[in-house]
């Protein structure tokens, strides 16, 4: 039977605040265990959580960026369950009245563009971290992460393939990072994703029974896990079996999803409004104020780059991969006045250098102004493109300006027509046989002459000038 996969994603993103969501402990990653804790995030009795205002602002930013309706009023609720990473016995989250709802974003895959709905975005606190003892029957609890602000972004079950799921995830990730509200680090757990996957016979409206996938800490693993799960469920259904509603963990090493069977209690969270926290009311004025701080989003930027700089959609995609890179390109393009050429140098050379060194564009030794200067030097004929390749390499290694590198290497291009003509005359005189061949119609010999001139000038002659002069002089005029 032909099946259609139905996929929905739940994404948890750490918000880049200084302090935790309900207390003043630091959110910095990597501190000594349990050193960023206080009576509030340790869940001591009698304490009062107070909401960090920045969390609301950041959550609203994401809501606006994903075309959600920001609710006038939202309420925190207690989600009750027992686990050692949750000292209070409940997680403060939002339930019946979340911050934002009914959003959508556009994704693009090999099959074209598609809109994916966002069910809701709500604010909540993160739980602590558990380390499991290899040899003893013990787990160790670090509560530094407890109370770090999260937004949970729940999609509609709108995705139909692992590729769409990965595209949606990447789009969310780039929006969060562009907004500068999340560092997007998947390895450190600042951006986490669970996937709900089910199959239904093609053409049927009702959903099949779904499995929830966890423990995928990279885009690639999300795609692999969803692909695996689709195949697994197809196999179960084709064999006449039934898919069980359960949580499955992705095992990266084996490349499979494994059931958490038996380890999971039936979920009954008994949500109720948290009496410690008062409702959040976000008026139009506040939203308008936040809207003013919204940056240009990646998709808008890509479209503008294609329109404004006449670069390809692929190039625009590469150049908008981060805000810093997009800014770098725009600055170099503006100063050089040649956007396409600036794009080529960045994508061909600068990104190669940076990738090799695993360096961010923010730390690039070549400043946009330096790249622009290099482009202008090619443009006005001072140097050839070939020389520029050599120069940019030195610029990257030393951080020197192109002018200084050219001077040091004595690399100025010969653009003096009379000097070059003299060299060409010498070459013509020294190779009468080839001249004869050329004049009798063997145009291939032309390459030989170009090579000779390049050699004689150590590659410093302007190639266009060589071509023009050679043609003129070889034809015997």
């Amino acid at each position: 039977m032909e099946y259609e996969p139905v996929i929905g994603l739940e994404v948890h993103a750490h918000l880049l605040t200084n302090a935790k969501i309900f207390c003043r402990c630091s959110t910095k990653f990597g501190a000594a265990p349990n050193s960023h804790t206080c009576p509030i995030c340790l869940g001591m009795p009698g304490v009062l959580p107070v909401l960090n205002k920045k969390v609301v602002e950041y959550a609203v930013k994401m809501g606006l960026a994903t075309n959600c309706r920001i609710n006038d009023r939202s309420v925190f609720a207690r989600k009750n369950y027992f686990y050692p990473d949750l000292p209070k016995g409940y997680q403060i989250s939002q339930y019946a009245e979340p911050l934002a709802e009914h959003g959508r974003i556009e994704i693009e895959t090999g099959d074209g563009k598609k809109i994916i709905g966002i069910t809701r975005i709500h604010m909540e606190e993160d739980a602590g971290k558990l380390l499991h003892d290899e040899r003893n029957p013990s787990s160790y609890v670090d509560l530094n992460r407890t109370g770090i602000p999260l937004i949970e972004i729940v999609s509609e079950p709108d995705m139909r393939s692992a590729e769409e799921a990965a595209a949606y995830l990447k789009r969310l990730h780039e929006i969060l990072v562009y907004l500068e509200i999340c560092d997007g680090n998947m390895e450190e757990g600042s951006f986490r994703c669970d996937a709900n996957v089910s199959l239904r016979p093609k053409g049927r409206a009702a959903f099949g029974i779904r499995a929830e996938l966890k423990n995928m800490n990279s885009f690639r693993n999300v795609q692999r896990a969803v692909e695996y799960e689709i195949e697994r469920q197809r196999h179960v259904l084709d064999g006449g079996g039934k898919v069980i509603q359960e949580t499955r963990l992705w095992d990266d090493g084996q490349g499979v999803t494994l059931s958490m069977r038996g380890k999971e209690e039936a979920h009954d969270y008994r949500y109720f409004p948290d009496p410690d926290l008062v409702p959040v009311e976000i008026g139009k004025d506040w939203i308008a104020e936040i809207e003013k701080t919204q940056p240009e989003l990646p998709q808008e930027k890509r479209e503008r780059f294609i329109r404004e700089y006449q670069i390809s959609s692929y190039d625009a995609g590469v150049l908008t991969a981060s805000r810093a890179l997009a800014d770098y390109f725009e600055e170099a393009a503006r100063q050089a006045g040649k956007p396409k050429i600036a794009a080529n140098w960045i994508m061909g050379d600068i990104l190669k250098f940076l990738n090799e060194d695993k360096r961010s564009v923010k730390d690039c030794p070549i400043l946009p102004a330096d790249l622009a200067a290099l482009i202008r030097l090619i443009d006005d004929g001072t140097i050839s493109g070939k020389m520029a390749k050599e120069i940019i390499d030195v610029m990257y290694k030393t951080g020197k300006k192109p002018g200084a590198v050219i001077e040091e290497k004595g690399m100025v291009q010969i653009t003096d027509e009379s000097a070059l003509a003299k060299t060409i005359t010498g070459i013509i005189e020294a190779n009468p046989a080839q001249v004869e061949q050329y004049r009798s119609g063997k145009e291939k010999v032309f390459g030989f002459f170009v090579g000779q001139v390049m050699k004689a000038t150590q590659g410093k002659a302007n190639p266009k000038l060589i071509n023009d002069l050679l043609k003129k002089m070889l034809s015997g005029s």
């Binding site: 605040t17 200084n18 302090a19 207390c23 003043r24 402990c25 630091s26 000594a32 265990p33 349990n34 050193s35 960023h36 804790t37 206080c38 009576p39 340790l42 107070v50 909401l51 960090n52 205002k53 920045k54 969390v55 609301v56 009023r73 309420v75 009750n80 027992f82 686990y83 050692p84 558990l130 380390l131 499991h132 003892d133 003893n136 029957p137 013990s138 787990s139 160790y140 609890v141 670090d142 509560l143 380890k263 009954d268 008994r270 409004p273 009496p275 926290l277 008062v278 409702p279 959040v280 009311e281």
Partner: protein
């Protein structure tokens, strides 16, 4: 009956409570008494009245995003029944 013995057992399980013999029946009957008493509230017509979750009509109580002092690690672990090094130790929760 507002609540069955099975429901009491279920709620007790969620709350990680264990009862001695006979206690489940006792609590079921007591909880029924309480719930039946509360049932009187349902006689009041609350049409058009917003459910109240707070005794005070407050909204938007915020703190600024400023880091303050945390507890020292020793203080954080002071009440822990089983502190180990910098950590709280608990029975293993995963295989």
């Amino acid at each position: 009956m507002k609540i069955t013995k099975e429901e009491v057992e279920y709620v007790a399980h969620l709350a990680r409570l264990e009862f001695h013999a006979g206690e489940t029946e006792k609590f079921t009957s007591q909880l029924n008494g309480i719930l039946l008493y509360m049932e009187m509230l349902n006689q009041i017509d609350t049409t058009g009245v917003e459910p109240m979750t707070h005794a005070i009509a407050q909204k938007n109580a915020f703190r600024d995003d400023v880091v303050g002092e945390s507890l020292m690690n020793e203080a954080a672990l002071a009440n822990a029944p089983d502190g180990r090094g910098d950590f709280f130790r608990v029975p293993k929760v995963i295989e």
